[in-house]
Symmetry: C2
């Protein structure tokens, strides 16, 4: 397996460690990662340093998140024998590369980054942007290049970040006069984003419209029963809308019997199918999906030593990979080395 | 000696490694450092990472400079048994602390830093400021705090940098809810800046108005003989100006016989003292000062292994000091640690 994978493409991905993950993460990324680990050399970064860029007032939250997200990874089926799980703040090569790259990118270019612009707007930072936040495209470039990642799974809105990384790659390679760094390609996930249970475009813990991967059976039931459907579908006999109906959007993501699902949609649109029927169906699918995840997660919570050992081992591997890249970059640029 | 010094104040200082040092450095800082090493715990930072912030097009220059400046330090009498000489780019805790601090300082605050503003103007960067250059007050704060320096010898124009460091210190201490970092104090040198041999305010290699510490006897002679004196002092019998006369400014710095020097100044002002007399006097003082420095420097150049060993040992010591600070800061903020 390892021999086969040694010639495979390298994937770098991960999550900001601001709290446990939810069903939106499962659909958007975790499920794919479980597949990709069999065919790619995959690194998962627990991005606590990046989480700090907009959680400077609560650093301990980023530390708690490391353990929470690691639990989620292992619970959904990320296999530490196949995937390297590592802690960003414990990889000293990353800030070194970041500081190096910051010399090769202008302030104006960072300010023009569309993702940074949008995030600044969302967070209401305006002129009080923490400098670390402005610099995070360079930090992300350090993450990606330190692992020599070929592929970076990102949402379509994150594509400008990859473009900025590749600009830095080309600048460093030009300075070094050889291809010491590798350009990365965005891997846009096949399934779109899962909406919140309230119908809002994005599932988010802070919006209170998320289903955590650790949700109890009761929480899952309550979440599904509160779901936004079609506000005009008042009686069972009324025709109902499928488009924008969160229950159907979720069934599209979680119900594998597409034929039956199409029949249900037709009946719902015609009238004569109540919300309770489709909600019960969705609830069952989610209970089947989430029960084993919750149980594995609970077991792992009780075996903190094992989880820490996984992180320690993964971080050691990641340290040797990223330090090797740093040394290569320093040598290629002709920087001082003993 | 070490026991006595263990309770002494800590000094952090150093030089950007952009080339060999000159007589201006000797007067402004090196001479003081040779004294301070007997009474303080002194760290000298070979600041190659900082040198890169405005030498990104020529990284190898910052690497060559490491060895050049180290030679200068040892040649003027910095004793590696008393002073820790270390290489900035080999101290991984520094970029880690920098990236951490960048989360606690706004872009607007960095842009308002008077020293940064002035340097941006001098370098003609305007909107094309490299991000690393904008961030360098945070990097300097990392340098100073990582060593827990009490005192930082700086020119008066650098005082705002120390103020910015102390702002970061207070911000981190407030976040940590205890004094994990130490506020530093600027140590303004007793002697002002040495002008260039052409009379310009600043001696600088790039301006071609400097006398290198490695200058040969002929170079010293030529430099002194080319020195700016009083353009109206055409004949020996003419009265001459002492104010703004570079030869007298240098004699003030290098001639210890203040009585004789005052007599010469009086004779020069009155008329009847030629430039050649004062230039010969200055030349002799400089030859006496620089000959042993040049010779020690030459010996050391031929013993590269010894110089590298000094740097290696110093950098090891500095690594353990700065890593300890980093760990303390991480713990105090509640960041993730294994």
């Amino acid at each position: 397996m390892l021999d086969q994978k040694s010639t495979s493409k390298i994937i770098l991905t991960g999550d900001r460690t601001t709290g446990p993950l939810h069903l939106g993460h499962y659909v958007g990324s975790l499920k794919n990662r479980v597949q990709l680990q069999y065919t790619h050399r995959q690194f998962l970064l627990l991005a606590d340093a990046q989480a700090l860029t907009d959680n400077a007032e609560d650093p301990a939250k980023t530390a708690r998140g490391v353990f929470e997200v690691a639990l989620d990874y292992l619970a959904v089926g990320i296999d530490p024998k196949l995937t390297t799980i590592c802690v960003q703040s414990c990889l000293a090569a990353l800030p070194e590369l970041t500081m190096l790259y910051l010399n090769y990118v202008t302030v104006a270019r960072l300010e023009r980054n569309p993702t940074v612009k949008e995030e600044i707007r969302l967070r209401g930072f305006e002129r009080d942007i923490p400098a670390g936040f402005l610099c995070y495209p360079a930090a992300q470039a350090a993450d990606i290049t330190a692992f020599k990642a070929d592929l970076v799974p990102v949402g379509a809105d994150q594509a400008p970040m990859i473009e900025q990384t590749n600009e830095i790659v080309r600048r460093i390679n030009r300075q070094a006069n050889r291809d010491v760094l590798v350009e990365a390609r965005a891997l846009i996930p096949p399934v779109g984003r899962l909406p919140g249970v309230d119908g809002k475009a994005k599932m988010s813990k802070s919006q209170g419209n998320a289903i955590a991967l650790s949700a109890t059976a009761d929480e899952i039931r309550a979440a599904v029963h509160s779901m936004y459907t079609d506000p005009n579908h008042l009686r069972v006999s009324d025709p109902g809308e499928v488009e924008g109906n969160v229950v159907f959007t979720y069934l599209d993501a979680f119900d594998d019997d597409k034929t039956e699902l199409e029949e249900l949609k037709t009946r719902y649109q015609r009238g004569g199918l109540g919300d309770m029927v489709i909600k019960r169906r969705l609830e069952e699918k989610l209970q089947v999906l989430l029960t084993p995840i919750r149980e594995r997660r609970k077991q792992l919570t009780e075996d903190r030593a094992y989880v820490l050992e996984v992180l320690r081992t993964g971080t050691e591997v990641a340290n040797s990979v990223t330090q090797a890249t740093l040394e290569e970059v320093k040598a290629a640029l002709g920087l001082f080395r003993f």
